[in-house]
Symmetry: C2
Subunit: 351 residues, 2 copies
C-alpha cells in the first residue's frame, strides 16, 4: 500500500502550515555514517550548584539574588535579544536596504528548583504549574505585544547553555517570520476549505492512526505528514483553542499528562535525555486580541535533532540550507518507533 | 551615523532574496558563553588514505575502484537522496496530505587528489579546474533537470562525513523551496524596479563599501545587509550572468582568485580550517533554458556556523526555528573583521 511505497521511493510532501515541501528519501538510512559524533548529554548535573545563576538562592549576572523558589521561577533575561525601548532605525526605505524597529522583552522561566530534573521526570502537578505560568505569560505579555514566543532549547546540542530545566519567552511588537507564515497559511486554508487547518488535520490523524504517537481525551501528538526533523512532533488540542490561556483546568491537567508521556518516549528512544527545541504557536496577541482569529488553532512544535542514536544527529546543512529540507526516514516510520516505546522512563526502571 | 545606530540598537532587516526578516541584536555579543564547545576541526588528515573511498585508487561502497586521478574526480553518490527512476506517489490530493514525485541524481566531486588540502590552499589553476567542472555539470545535468544544486559542506560541524576536499551536486526535476523563493523574489523585483535585484545590489554595495569583504574586476563578495549567519557572505559577478557556463575564461580565472582570497580570510579569522556550507544559485535549467530568465543573477552563498572562535558556533535553535532568525553582530561588523584580515594563509606563514 501507500506506506510501503513511501518507505521505498523518494518523494516530496507538502507542509500546509509553512507552504513548502520536504524531500523524503527513506532509503538514505542505509548509508553508513562516518561523520561527526556528538558528545552524549552529561548525566552528572548536581541537584544544586550555588554558581549556577538559575538555581534558587544564586546571584545572577546583574547582581540580583534568586529567591529560594520551590516551583517555577521567572526573571528577565540578563542578555536579551529584544529590549523594550529600541528606537526606530528610520531607514531610507530603499527596497534593498529595508530595516524596521524591533521592540520586545526576553524572559527566562525555571521549571523546577532542581538542576538534575527534566519535564518527563517531574510530577504531573509540577508540569501543570509550568503550563499555568505559560498561560499567564501569554495574558501578561500578550496585552502589549503582538507575538509571545514561548520556547525551550533542551540539551547542549540545541545551544542550551545551562543544564537547569528552563524555557525562554521572547515577546515582540512584530510578527516573526514563522508566525507570519503560520498566520497566512491558516487564514488561507479556512477561507478556502471552511474549517481551521489544524482542527481538520487533528481529526483526520486521529482517525487514520498512522502517525499518532500518544493521545488522550483532549490532546493528540503526531509526527506530522510533513515533518522535517527525524522525530519531529506536533502537539494539538482536539477542541478548537486559540491560545494557551483559553485552556480549561481539565485540559491543562491533560496536557501535563500527555507532555510527560511524549517526553518519556523521547528519552526512552535512545536512553538519553532527548535534546530538542520546542515552542508554542497560538493566535497572535496585542491588537489581534480584538480581531477574528478563528483560522488559528493552538499547537506546539517539537524539533529534535537526533537521527540514529544518542550521538548521531541529522545535519540540516548544504542541500537543506541552499535548496530543500530532506529527511532520511518516513514520518510513519518515526511515529511507529515512538509509539512502540514504553511509557515508563528508562531512568525509573534502572533504579 | 547609521552604523553606530545598528551596533547599539536591535532592529529587523529585510532579506529581499527570501522575502523574510532577520533580527539583528548586536548587543548580544556581550553575553558570556557557557554552552557547548565544539571540537576544533582535525588537522592530522593524511594526504592519502587507501581506506578513504574518495582517494585516488580506493574502492568505493559499490565495489568500483577510483582511478588514480590527478585533478578533479566525479562519481555517482553511492547513497543518493534522489534517484532518477522514482515512481509517482499518485497522492489522493487531499490538501493536507499532498505528495508528489521527486526524481534526480546525486553526484560527488573531489576537488583534488590530496585529502589534506582545501580550496584556499590550492593553486588558482587547480581551483579553475573545479570551476570548469561545475560549469560542465550545469550544462550536462541542466539539459534534463530543472535545478542543479552544487554545494559544499565543509567540516564535521557542517555534517561533512569525509575530510577529503569535495562538493556534491544534487539535480532534481523540481524547483527546491529555496530556488523557488529566489525565483519569485527576483522575478517580482525586476518587474517592479526594472533592474535585476542582484545586479542593482552589487552595484550599490560596491559603491557603499560598507559590507564588502573582497572584490576584483569581475567579482564582489559582501556580507549581505540581510545576512543571518554571523560571517555569511554572498559572492556576486559584476556583470549580469545567468548561469555558471556563461562565465568567460577570464571571469573563471578571476573567480578562482576571489574564492582563494575569501576562503583564506575565512581560515585566518580563527586560524582554523573554516567550516561552512556553500552553494551556487543560477537561473533554473531544464525546460527553463528556453525561457526569459533576465530576472536571475548568478550568485553563491557561504553559510559558516562559527560565531566567537574556532570552537564556539551560533546555534540557530528555539527562537530561530520557531519564530525568527536572529544574529548577534551586525553584518557591517562582520564585514569589517573579514576585510581587515590578511590574504596570506595562516598555515603558509607558519611553515
Ligand atoms: O551526503 P552527506 O555528506 O553524507 O550528508 C550531509 O549532507 C547532506 C546534504 O546537505 C545532508 O542531508 C546530511 O544530513 C549531511 O550529513
Ligand atoms: O539564550 P541562550 O539560551 O543563551 O541562546 C540560545 O538560544 C537562543 C534563542 O533560540 C539562540 O539565539 C542562541 O543562538 C542559542 O545559543
Amino acid at each position: 500500500g501507500c506506506l510501503e511505497f513511501y518507505d521505498k521511493h523518494q518523494h516530496l510532501r507538502y507542509n500546509p502550515l509553512r507552504d513548502s515541501w520536504v524531500l523524503v528519501s527513506a532509503h538514505r538510512m542505509k548509508r553508513p555514517w562516518k561523520g561527526q559524533v556528538e558528545k552524549p548529554p552529561e548525566d552528572n548535573t548536581p541537584r544544586h550548584d550555588p554558581n549556577n545563576p538559575l538555581c534558587p538562592g544564586s546571584v545572577r549576572a546583574n547582581g540580583e539574588v534568586n529567591p529560594e523558589y520551590d516551583s517555577t521561577f521567572m526573571f528577565d533575561n540578563d542578555f536579551p535579544a529584544l529590549q523594550p525601548d529600541a528606537p526606530d532605525p528610520g531607514s531610507d526605505h530603499h527596497p534593498l536596504f529595508q530595516s524596521k524597529a524591533a521592540r520586545g522583552v526576553c524572559k527566562v522561566m525555571c521549571f523546577h528548583p532542581w538542576s538534575d530534573i527534566t519535564l518527563p521526570l517531574m510530577q504531573p502537578a509540577e508540569i501543570r504549574k509550568v503550563i499555568d505560568k505559560w498561560a499567564d505569560l501569554i495574558v501578561e505579555l500578550g496585552a502589549e505585544y503582538t507575538w509571545v514566543q514561548i520556547f525551550e532549547n533542551k540539551g547542549a546540542m540545541m545551544g542550551c547553555s545551562n543544564p537547569h530545566p528552563h524555557c525562554q519567552v521572547w515577546a515582540s511588537n512584530f510578527l516573526p517570520n514563522e508566525a507570519a507564515l503560520a498566520e497566512r497559511c491558516q487564514r488561507d486554508f479556512l477561507q478556502k476549505h471552511g474549517e481551521p487547518l489544524l482542527v481538520q488535520y487533528a481529526r483526520m490523524e486521529a482517525q487514520a492512526q498512522e502517525r499518532v504517537v500518544v493521545e488522550n481525551e483532549h490532546w493528540l501528538v503526531v509526527v506530522p505528514y510533513w515533518a522535517t526533523w527525524p522525530f519531529q512532533t506536533l502537539l494539538l488540542p482536539r477542541r478548537h483553542v486559540f491560545r494557551l490561556p483559553d485552556l480549561t483546568a481539565q485540559e491543562r491537567d491533560s496536557l501535563a499528562s500527555i507532555m510527560k508521556r511524549l517526553l518519556t518516549k523521547y528519552d526512552n528512544l535512545f536512553e538519553v535525555s532527548f535534546p530538542y527545541s520546542m515552542g508554542w504557536h497560538g493566535a497572535p496577541t496585542g491588537s489581534h486580541l480584538q480581531e477574528d482569529m478563528s483560522h488559528w488553532q493552538l499547537h506546539a512544535h517539537y524539533y529534535p535533532p537526533l537521527l540514529r542514536s544518542a550521538t548521531i544527529r541529522k545535519f540540516m546543512v548544504g542541500y537543506e540550507m541552499l535548496a530543500n529540507e530532506q529527511r532520511d526516514l518516513t514520518p510513519e516510520q518515526a511515529a511507529d518507533q515512538l509509539r512502540k516505546l514504553g511509557e515508563e522512563h528508562y531512568k525509573m526502571k534502572k533504579t
